[in-house]
Amino acid sequence: MNYDIAIIGGGNAALCAAITAAEKGARVIILEAAPKPYRGGNSRHTRNFRCMHSGPLGPLVDSYSEAEYLDDLLKVTDGRTDIGLARLAIRTSEECLPWMQERGVRFQPSLSGTLSLARTNAFFLGGGKGLVNAYYRTAEKLGVTVCYDAPVTHLELDDDRIVFLDYTHEGETRRLSPNAVIVASGGFQADTDWLARAWGPAAKNFLIRGTPYNRGVVLADLLEQGIEQVGDPTQCHAVAIDGRAPKFDGGIVTRLDCVPFSIVVNKHAERFYDEGEDVWPKRYAIWGRLVAAQPDQVGYVIIDGKSLNLFMPSVFPPIKADTLEGLAVEMGLPPDRLRATVDQFNAACGDTAAFHPSELDGVTTTGLEPPKTNWARPIVEPPFYGYSLRTGVTFTYLGLKVDETAQCSIGNRPVGNLWAAGETMAGSILGQGYLAGFGMTIGTVFGRIAGREAADYAN
């Protein structure tokens, strides 16, 4: 069988591309590195889609303008954003939501514990795996061939065209010569050696929140052949997760939402950042890097009895002790120094009458460095609870540079039949930082663009 388009990867961006191209009449094959139960890459672990809307749309209430969306993005990326591509992603997101629904994706009201996102993010019913399942059904109905356990090992570039690609399947190497190729195989975060080359040996202590199959093989292969790259290899979407999480694929259940109600210390029992800087959905994405910068890349969250029920339960129960010193021993922290840090923090707390767990309440410390600027309540009520924190990498930003048609380039000219979508090109938009649900927006918008452009080319 000759295919018009080969799509490398099997997650959201790959599926959006496959469906769009197949709807335009192209013969499409999806080469998914993972076996069927693990299909879908990191999309399996996602839960929502950040969507611009001028009025109520699907599960979304009120409105969320282009300007506000862009502003939210610029805040988290500190301006390191390709404004043109960001605006394209934001503007197109509105028409994506009904497109997704027509292709089987179902939404649900904002999940309990995530009410702050009810206006901006549309939650998938059943989460990202539900979305992935629906798209595979839709794609297969359109005649798309899906090949699991089929990691691509090499794309052969001849002048400015991909002439063939090699992949392994059922123990042998196979070759395809499609008219067009779409790369949608994610970042390289599961290759910890690569991470360590970029970050130094500290990266060996990072946990990978998603699929172990995103090892950046295709990305490395293309970059070696001179395809234009974008992004800083040390930049990634990384959050602080429970230190007891599995090395790969721990997903959402390993996240900890208790930082705003805690103090966070390093292994020397010293605080290092304002835990109450902003509401957690706006701050969770910086804590991965904050923890990564601490000795041994580990942090320790300390809360007391009154705060235990203020945040979503995590999959691992907290470490519990009747005294702070006892907790310190359980967690391997120096007890006297933890006691000193907590005493100093408690002494800096003021009037807590205005405490409000879900809003910036201005209950702040005074004369403490670093300060805690909201939700600062003394840690005094036993039992005391602790969690260890480690850096959990979601995806890396070093990737393929694309233009507004999702096309890759070499030197200053386009590669005639190569497009990229999803995490593998997200660095084209995101320089640093992360905005919840924006990865799925990039994947959907650029997956559809890549599918359309590749189909037009192949036809």
């Binding site: 139960p37 059943g126 990202g128 795996k129 059904r137 995590s314």
Partner: protein
């Protein structure tokens, strides 16, 4: 109840509670998310709220081969079946029948034999038509206790259930809400209205929902038919047989058709469904029960079709034997699930009412 089953379900529920992606599928998840820790009673209630639609399983990022090894539909099904066995009265009877198709078949054959013996020993005492085979009084003497015993047994079980789950006060609007949910089988709608995953992996269909409702409404129509016959007999002195346009026939014929057709459909769906997502070892019991229920409907229809022929006495004995077995086994077979389900839905409605009042 078996602590290993409870413990496994609890382990899984704690993972679900940290994820919450499935919140919109059914009643289980909002109820689950209302807890931070799960008592045995909480797990029992969640298990009986679960309709085994399997939406959460196919959407789950933590199913095997993932090390978390989630299979919530099976974990809850195991607790659910175990709870029916634990709460059954007399205790232990459910253990014999719930998961054992052979015992159900055996009980049915004994039902036939009992009726045959009754027909021989008691006989007509001068009645006509059906009552020429077995007199009306003899039928009443057999079936009144066979009907009242299961009701009393189920009542004891539900009381045990209500206590174990600490469901609190019982209010009429909660019961109304539970019946409303069961009437539409809302929990098999998938939350999005596309139905559930059952017979073809992650494909959403309404097949199981419709087949189940055919059985449920078919059964209720048949029951109404029998009740109307009883009323006509005693209150209006109008004994059977009844004509085509009589109330018992108008209710009974569509009821029998729905019941028979629905049971065949459910059996076919069950055959195609993955047994690894249902209760361990429950398959033969469930299949035998559904077959018995379908046979009750089918033999009733057949009896109407051949009522005027020489086959009638034999068929009457077979039909009544099946009905007898069905009634007597109600508390100890899959039939019990309807009562537990309604109770769980009532308790859930009460939970929602209380949480609304609190906020």
């Amino acid at each position: 109840m078996q602590t290993d089953l409870l413990q496994e379900a609890r382990r899984q529920a704690e993972i679900c509670n940290a994820c919450r992606y499935c919140e919109g599928y059914c009643s289980v998840f909002p109820a689950l998310h209302a807890h931070r820790a799960f008592t045995d009673g909480d797990m029992t209630q969640l298990a009986n709220l679960c309709h085994n639609c399997r939406g959460c399983y196919h959407a789950c990022q933590y199913t095997a081969p993932h090390e978390f090894d989630l299979n919530l539909p099976q974990a809850l099904a195991n607790v659910r079946h175990d709870s029916w066995e634990a709460f059954a009265f007399p205790t232990g009877a459910a253990r014999a029948f719930q998961k054992n198709g052979l015992m159900i078949a055996l009980a049915t054959v004994i039902g036939f034999a009992l009726l045959l013996w009754a027909a021989r020993a008691i006989g007509s005492m001068g009645g006509e038509d059906f009552y020429a085979v077995l007199s009306h009084n003899a039928m009443v003497a057999i079936f009144v206790p066979a009907f009242l015993f299961p009701l009393a047994s189920v009542a004891v079980s539900l009381r045990r259930y209500w206590r174990e789950t600490q469901a609190g006060d019982l209010r009429l609007p909660d019961i109304v809400a539970a019946f409303g949910s069961a009437a539409r089988m809302r929990n098999l709608s998938g939350g999005h209205g596309d139905g559930c995953n059952f017979e073809d992996e992650d494909r959403f269909t309404h097949a199981r929902r419709i087949a189940h409702q055919a059985v449920m409404y078919g059964f209720l129509l048949c029951f109404a038919s029998t009740t109307s016959g009883t009323v006509l007999h005693y209150a209006f002195d109008m004994p059977a047989p009844y004509g085509l346009l009589s109330l018992p026939k108008l209710l009974g014929i569509p009821g029998g058709v729905l019941l028979t057709f629905g049971c065949v459909w459910l059996l076919d769906l069950k055959r195609r469904a993955d047994p690894a997502l249902g209760a361990t070892g429950a398959r033969s019991g469930e299949i035998a029960f559904t077959a018995l229920l379908g046979f009750v409907g089918f033999s009733g229809l057949a009896l109407y079709a051949v009522g005027q022929t020489g086959m009638m006495p034999a068929l009457l004995v077979i039909h009544l034997g099946a009905v007898l077995a069905f009634f007597l086994l109600t508390p100890f077979t899959k039939m019990a699930h309807g009562f537990y389900r309604l109770t769980a839905l009532t308790a859930d409605a009460a939970r929602i009412r209380r949480s609304k009042a609190a906020s």
